[in-house]
C-alpha cells in the first residue's frame, strides 16, 4: 500500500492475550490487563495472574500518569515518524499501580520541556497504516 516502506511505523500483531488491548483502543478506551482475583495489573498482559494464577481481564484505566523516563529520538532507526524527527518516547507510569508502565509517544510539547516526573494524560491517535489506534500522551497542563 505505502510506496515508501519507511513511512509506516511497525504495526502491532495482536495475539490471543493482547487482542483486547487493541480492541479497546479502537473504541477510544485505554484498558490494561488486570487479575480478576487479586487485582494486580499486568504488563505485558498474561492469560493468568503471575501472582495468584487467577483469570485476567482488561479493565479501563484513568489514562493519567507520570513520565518515568524518556528519550528524544533524533535518528531514523525505526520506520515511521520520519517527518516528526526528533520525537519523544516516554515510559509513562500509570497512576493505577507503581511500576505499571507503557511506552508511548509524548505529543504537544517541545522535547526540551519534557522531564522525568511530568504529569501526562492519554489521548487517542490513528496509527499510520489505518488499522490501529494507539494511546499517546500529552502534558496535563498543556491545554
Amino acid at each position: 500500500m505505502a510506496a515508501d516502506p519507511l513511512s509506516l511505523p511497525p504495526q502491532p500483531v495482536p495475539d490471543a492475550v493482547t487482542a483486547p488491548f487493541w480492541a479497546a483502543l479502537a473504541e477510544g478506551r485505554l484498558a490494561m490487563c488486570r487479575c480478576g482475583q487479586c487485582g494486580l495489573w499486568l504488563q505485558p498482559p498474561l492469560e493468568r495472574c503471575r501472582r495468584c494464577a487467577g483469570p485476567t481481564r482488561f479493565v479501563d484505566v484513568a489514562g493519567t500518569g507520570t513520565v518515568y523516563s524518556f528519550i528524544v529520538q533524533h535518528r531514523a532507526t525505526v520506520p515511521g515518524y520520519l517527518d516528526d524527527l526528533p520525537y519523544v518516547v516516554a515510559l509513562v507510569e500509570l497512576d493505577e499501580q507503581a511500576g505499571l508502565r507503557l511506552p508511548a509517544r509524548i505529543v504537544g510539547v517541545d522535547p526540551a520541556a519534557v522531564h522525568c516526573g511530568l504529569r501526562v494524560r492519554a489521548e487517542f491517535a490513528d496509527l499510520p497504516g489505518g488499522e490501529f489506534t494507539v494511546a499517546v500522551f500529552r502534558p496535563v497542563d498543556s491545554r
Binding site: S69, I71, H74
Partner: protein
C-alpha cells in the same frame, strides 16, 4: 572458598578478523575462530566432543560448525537463544558440561554476520510479543531502551554527558594499542560531545561498533589444562540474574541493571570483591551499560563513575583496567564473547602492548537491563 565451577579452565582462544562488512557466511567465520582456538591450545577436531553457541537465531549452529572443522561425532551440542544476557550462562554451561562428564573439550563460539545489526530496525513492518506495545511508537531497538535507562540515572543521580564521554574516551584510548580493534583513532571529550545524537541522551559514541566476526574459546577440565601449552585460565565462579521476564520497560529501577542482583551473588560465590579484580571486561553495548553495571558491581558509588574514569582509576596504573581491548565500543561488537578472549589473553600475560601488569583476576560481565550475568577468571584455581 571453592566454587563448583573451579575445576574448569579456558585453554584456547580464537577469532576471525573483525570488519564492518565481511562478505562471509557465519559458518565460515565461526569455523575459522574454532579452528584457531583449537590450534591455540594444541588440540584437534578429534579431541573435541562438545560445542555450544548463543545467538538470536542468526548464525550457523553448533553441529554445523563442528562438522565444518572435522568433528565427526559431537557428544554434546547446545544452541542457546539469547544475546549479551546469556553469555555467562553459556560459558558456565560449557564448564558444567565438562565437570559433569557430559563432554571433555567444549568449544564456545559467537559469530555475527552483516545480516545482524541490532541498532536499527528499518525493515521491521510488524511487531509481536511485548514489542507490539512499543514498536508502533517508534521505540524498538536497544540504543533507545538503554538511553531510557540513562536518562533516569541522570535524573536520579545527576550523571552527565561528560561522564558518559569519559567512558567512551577511555575505551577508545585503550583500543589504540589493540591491532584487532576496528576503531583505533583516539577521540577527545569534545569529539564525543560533538558526535551526533542517536537517541538522546545517547550520541554516536555512546553506542557499540557493530561488525562482522567470530570468537571461540575452548573449555576443558583444569586437570587436562595442565598438560596444554598455555597457562590455564580458571573459572572461579559465575552468576546470572533474570527478572521481569526480560522486559526492559518493566524492570523496576532504570538507574541500575541486572547487576544489582548478580553482583552480590557472584561475590558471595567467589569470596572475592571489587578490590580483588585486576581487569574488568565490562559489557558495553553502550557507555551507560558500563556506568550502571560498574556501580552495581561495587567499584564505586552511584553517580561517581565519571569521576572514577576521569581520575584514571579505570586504566593502567589505576584501581582496575576496564576493557583494555577497547570493548564493544571500540574493538567491536562480538556480543560480549570478545571480552572473554581479552580476559584470557590478559591472564596469560600475552596481551603485548596493552598487558595489564601482574593481572591475576578478570571480571567479565554480560547483559544489560533486566537480565545478564558475570563470571570471574583467575590464574590460579580458588
Amino acid at each position: 572458598m571453592s566454587h563448583a565451577l573451579a575445576g574448569a579452565a579456558v585453554v584456547g582462544i580464537g577469532r576471525s578478523p573483525f570488519v564492518r562488512s565481511s562478505g562471509r557466511t557465519t559458518l565460515s567465520m565461526a569455523a575459522q575462530a574454532a579452528r584457531e582456538a583449537l590450534a591455540d591450545c594444541g588440540l584437534t577436531a578429534a579431541d573435541v566432543d562438545g560445542f555450544t553457541c548463543y545467538s538470536t537465531g542468526d548464525s550457523a549452529g553448533p553441529s554445523q560448525v563442528a562438522h565444518a572443522i572435522g568433528v565427526d561425532d559431537l557428544g554434546w551440542s547446545l544452541s542457546v537463544l539469547g544475546g549479551g544476557n546469556i553469555v555467562t550462562s553459556t560459558v558456565a554451561g560449557a564448564a558444567a558440561a565438562v565437570l559433569s562428564g557430559q563432554a571433555e573439550v567444549v568449544v564456545v563460539y559467537r559469530v555475527l554476520g552483516s545480516q545482524t545489526r541490532y541498532g536499527r530496525a528499518l525493515e521491521r513492518v510488524e511487531v509481536d510479543g511485548e514489542g507490539q506495545f512499543a514498536g508502533p511508537h517508534g521505540y524498538l531497538v536497544p540504543p533507545q531502551w538503554f538511553a531510557m535507562y540513562c536518562r533516569r540515572h541522570q535524573y536520579e543521580y545527576g550523571s552527565t554527558a561528560a561522564d558518559l564521554g569519559a567512558i567512551a574516551v577511555q575505551e577508545r584510548d585503550h583500543a589504540v594499542r589493540n591491532p584487532h580493534a576496528v576503531a583505533r583513532s583516539p577521540i577527545t571529550l569534545d569529539d564525543y560531545l560533538n558526535s551526533r545524537w542517536i537517541s538522546e541522551p545517547f550520541r554516536l559514541f555512546d553506542c557499540c561498533y557493530e561488525i562482522d566476526g567470530a570468537v571461540a574459546i575452548v573449555v576443558t577440565s583444569a586437570e587436562r589444562a595442565a598438560d596444554l601449552p598455555h597457562r590455564p585460565v580458571h573459572l572461579l565462579g559465575a552468576a546470572d540474574s533474570n527478572r521481569f521476564g526480560g522486559s526492559v520497560d518493566q524492570w523496576d529501577d532504570l538507574s541500575c541493571m541486572y547487576s544489582r542482583d548478580t553482583a552480590p551473588r557472584l561475590w558471595s560465590r567467589t569470596g572475592l570483591r571489587p578490590a580483588d579484580i585486576d581487569v574488568a571486561c565490562m559489557y558495553d553495548c553502550f557507555t551507560f551499560t558500563v556506568m550502571a553495571t560498574f556501580e552495581d558491581f561495587g567499584f564505586c558509588a552511584k553517580g561517581e563513575v565519571g569521576d572514577y574514569f576521569r581520575a584514571g582509576r579505570a586504566t593502567y596504573g589505576g584501581d582496575v583496567v576496564v576493557n583494555p581491548h577497547g570493548g564493544l565500543l571500540s574493538e567491536g561488537y562480538i556480543h560480549g564473547l570478545n571480552h572473554h578472549y581479552e580476559a584470557v589473553l590478559q591472564l596469560r600475560g600475552d596481551a603485548g602492548d596493552r598487558q595489564v601488569s601482574g593481572a591475576e583476576t578478570a571480571l567479565v560481565t554480560s547483559g544489560a537491563g533486566p537480565f545478564g550475568g558475570a563470571l570471574v577468571y583467575g590464574t590460579a584455581a580458588l
